[in-house]
Symmetry: C2
Amino acid sequence: MMQSTALRSFHIESYAMQHTRLDTLPCPIARALDRVGEWWNILILRDAFRGLTRFDQFQKSLGIAPNILSRRLRGLVEAGLLEKIRYNQRPPRDEYVLTPVGRDFQPVLWAMLAWGNRHFMPFGQEVALVDPATGLHADPVMVDGKSGKRLDQAVLRPIPRPTLDDARRRQS
Amino acid sequence: MMQSTALRSFHIESYAMQHTRLDTLPCPIARALDRVGEWWNILILRDAFRGLTRFDQFQKSLGIAPNILSRRLRGLVEAGLLEKIRYNQRPPRDEYVLTPVGRDFQPVLWAMLAWGNRHFMPFGQEVALVDPATGLHADPVMVDGKSGKRLDQAVLRPIPRPTLDDARRRQS
């Protein structure tokens, strides 16, 4: 137990000498950003949710330089959001598919979609969220999963840092 | 009507010579990112939702260089997410408060919070979303505002570009 704490402090200190590392801050928003922080990454994830998997598909969709795309895809694989799968041996060809952690990013995109549609599409919506069961446009709204209540008034609140015992109990 | 279309094309072309501009793409996610695309901006918004308004408060919270913070705050004001308000004349002192468009970004932060809490807080949650009415922790979940159904299966779908007449009808 002492060892884990020491290890963690070591990481924080060793990063402090470099530029700011978000992945060691105690805030889940900062850590989430550390995984996708750059907007190309978020657009790559958007495209992955649209079903794109291949380098040339992403490139065509994003109009991005190959070296940048290649670096971004590698970063998303390293962050655990995409998995690189070889679908052809000769010639070697890979595709990139969302991992479970990557798929779980979807509500962030939906929230961005709703915000963008509401404020920055002066000529009207050009992308909609659709319920595939009904084909109807959906209006993404955040509620509390337990009470079903809309979260309009909810606030972020730091909670006391749990002891490692607490954390273990919570995770088990 | 012709004039508006021409104006829009002009903007797209004039930006094309520079680096990629997200604010002219037809995707609301891209346009949303254009407003907040850089992760400092998202952390500044996070802090604004926590009630921070002053330069030194943001600086203390973020550990960010003053010149970068100052550029970011200016950018968020220009993008219409924060408003700069002079609260003291001598010496001149400004504070930054969320505009309605900025406040509407909140679901994006909640979605990031939930994703970060779920996957990147190995020692347990350190920030929670709280319903101020009950004091209980909320579990942010995205539903369709109309049907109340969870959006687990929802998909993004491009919709046919409306004519300007359609767009006008939609907005009126």
